[in-house]
């Protein structure tokens, strides 16, 4: 089933790119079109393999995660990145660093542990923030509430 799902997903990607084709020069499409056609052909081969060789599941079972754990990780990372333009690097970083650290604890955290995680977050995020903005002169996203 993994081969069929994988092949179908790549075919969908090919389709999305194919409808976006809009070339203005003679040779602008020569390379991407060749890649798209080759990719689509190989995806069909992968699907065919999935259909013909049922004993080969096509899934990579190493390091498989539970849906709940995976969902929590994806949600936290997405929320962190999406909040970046609003909360900025510093405040968003402290908030989500603390949140991730607390949620990664296996037992219910005490107030002392919450303060410890918050303190580590302030030190780590603050150190990176100062190093980049004050020493390397790299501007980072700021709070824009």
């Amino acid at each position: 089933m993994g081969n069929i799902i994988g092949g179908a997903a790549v075919l969908v990607i090919c389709l999305i790119f194919w409808v976006q084709r809009d070339y203005s020069s003679e040779y602008g499409g020569i390379f991407p079109d060749s890649v798209l056609i080759a990719l689509a052909a190989l995806s069909v081969v992968l699907i065919a393999r999935g259909l013909l060789r049922r004993q080969d599941t096509g899934w990579d079972t190493t390091g498989r995660l539970g849906y709940r754990d995976l969902g929590r990780a994806l949600l936290l990372l997405t929320a962190w990145v999406v909040s970046l333009p609003i909360l900025g690097y510093f405040y968003g970083g402290i908030l989500f660093f603390t949140l991730v650290a607390l949620l990664m604890r296996t037992s219910r955290p005490t107030w002392k542990q919450i303060l410890l995680d918050l303190g580590v977050a302030v030190v780590v995020v603050g150190a990176f923030y100062l190093a980049f903005t004050q020493i390397l002169y790299v501007t980072l996203p700021e709070l824009s509430l």
Partner: protein, 519 residues
């Protein structure tokens, strides 16, 4: 020549010059270790500081910084699977699996020794072979660059030993990602989905971080613990001397990879990002136990790091002799040379010999300094990362990845791209399509397309322009290398099967080892 070489050596032995090289090497290593801050960016950031210096000191500082930055990229590649620079992509392929086995210290030592040997061989080539090698590199036209990229892509056959089909799909996905944005020749705006930020294409560093690091961060947060095998406390600790002896006991890999790095460095536009992958592939092909590559093989780390530091000396060959920069940081240093009124060419070596040779020797001194400094700093960093509780390691890596993705173009969109590619990479890994092949396609896509289109345009006067790709002497050699490289895993498999007396499969069957590519 030997007289000015001696003068250069003496100049480098002055305490002030040694201090300058030490500062350059250390700061380069620190910057290279941060994902997102490439050697190019670091050298560019450093240029204003050199304005107040005399030309020799300024160039020495820049050269040492560049050497250190290329080496520094290996630290995060090994410890957290985040290549600090594109030159360390292949380092992560085996460095991080070594970390997962609790052998990150061994990987750091391998990277250090490899970087040292690569750096020294590159400098030797720069001193003795600069003029003939520089003129040879000018014979490479678009057709040859196209075949160089194709040669790089044949590495997929080697990387995807589990399932060639899935490896090829990954490589083509990378090539497709490389076509996003303005076309390198012709200027077509392609596949931007209406977002002007995508006109610049998929930025390499955020893509690298996304494809390699984000899947690991997802795993760390989801599992709430390191892999059980990541820290093996039961195993006896390796001794530094033993580790160094073991690495030096395989000199062929060290020397071959350094030479590959030097040669690729000479080719303008290729650089460390290509060299480390080519050297890795050759190390795997030449190995007696290629099946261990991607699962924590020290030769993979050594090959990648020897090659990327070999590009430093190699890249300066066309820069100093022809004024054609071999790598992007070389272009910046070339600018500094011109700023001081120094024109590259044979004359530069005659009229400004002491300056040029002081600079070249400083590169070698920097490579030597990397050994003690790297072993202390790298192993210290390694112990720090290993001692860090995983609940701080995962968000700590995320903090670093966000900066790395953002800093290149000061764009939040790049952070979104990093996350999207990271999540996609995790899901693709689940169906056996590894991130390494995608990265390979992304790195080589622009080189391949530019070579292809420019090759057709330059031979448009011919009856059949395509034939120019198959008739030029260097192209023919490169085509043969491509065929050999693509066929090698099959030849090796058949040979192994014959040795074992069991029938071989014509094509590697689907397996589950692809994940090892990026783990």
């Amino acid at each position: 020549m030997f007289e000015v070489l001696g003068q250069g050596l003496l100049a480098n032995l002055a305490p002030s010059m040694l201090l300058l090289v030490l500062i350059g090497t250390l700061s380069g290593m620190a910057l290279g270790a941060m994902p997102g801050l490439s050697a190019t960016m670091g050298v560019a950031l450093l240029v204003p500081f050199t304005f107040a210096m005399d030309p020799t000191s300024g160039l020495v500082l820049l050269g040492a910084f560049y050497m250190g930055a290329i080496y520094g990229g290996s630290f995060t590649a090994i410890l957290v699977n985040a290549p600090g620079t594109p030159s360390s992509i292949a380092t992560a392929l085996d460095g991080y699996p070594l970390t997962r086995k609790g052998r990150s210290e061994f990987a750091i030592v391998g990277a250090t020794i490899g970087s040292f040997v690569g750096g020294i061989i590159g400098v030797i080539a720069l001193i003795f072979l600069a003029p003939p090698l520089a003129s040879f590199s000018l014979r490479f036209g678009p057709q040859e660059y196209f075949w160089v990229a194709m040669f790089g892509l044949t590495i997929i056959a080697s990387l995807a030993s589990g399932s060639l089909l899935k490896g090829l799909i990954g490589g083509l996905l990378g090539l497709l990602l490389a076509t996003i944005g303005i076309a390198p020749v012709g200027g077509d705006v392609r596949f931007t989905f209406g977002d002007p930020m995508l006109q610049g294409g998929v930025p390499l560093v955020p893509a690298l971080i996304g494809l390699f690091t984000i899947p690991e961060v997802i795993r760390l947060i989801a599992l709430r613990t390191r892999d059980a095998q990541m820290v093996d406390e039961t195993r006896e600790k390796d001794r530094l001397g033993g580790m160094i002896r073991l690495i030096l006991s395989r000199p062929v890999n060290l020397i071959r990879s350094s030479i590959i790095g030097t040669i690729v460095g000479i080719l303008p536009g290729a650089g460390g990002s290509v060299a480390n992958l080519v050297a890795y592939n050759e190390a795997k092909r030449a190995s007696k136990h290629p099946e261990t590559f991607g699962k924590g093989e020290i030769d993979g780390v050594v090959a990648s790091e020897s090659a990327n530091n070999g590009t430093v000396g190699g890249g300066f060959i066309p820069t100093l002799t022809l004024g054609v920069p071999g790598t992007p940081p070389d272009a910046i240093i070339l600018g500094v040379l011109l700023l001081h009124g120094l024109r590259p060419g044979a004359e530069l070596f005659e009229t400004s010999g002491p300056l040029v040779y002081t600079f070249i020797i400083a590169l070698a001194v920097s490579a030597v300094m990397m050994v003690p400094v790297g072993l202390i700093a790298g192993r210290g960093l390694q112990r720090g990362v290993m001692a860090l509780p995983v609940r701080y390691l995962a968000p700590g890596i995320t903090v670093l990845t966000i900066i790395g993705a953002y800093a290149i173009r000061s764009s939040v969109v790049d952070v979104f791209i990093m996350l999207a590619l990271g999540v996609a990479a995790y899901l693709l890994q689940r169906v056996g399509i590894g991130g390494a092949a995608i990265v390979l396609g992304l790195v080589l896509g622009t080189i391949a397309e530019t070579g292809l289109v420019q090759g057709i345009l330059t031979s448009s006067g011919d009856a059949v322009p395509w034939t120019s790709f198959f008739t030029r002497p260097i192209s023919i050699v490169l085509i043969l290398m491509c065929v050999l490289s693509a066929a090698w895993p099959f030849i090796q498999k058949r040979r192994d099967a014959k040795t074992k007396g069991t029938p071989a499969e014509a094509v590697p069957t689907s397996g589950h080892s692809d994940r090892a590519e990026s783990d």
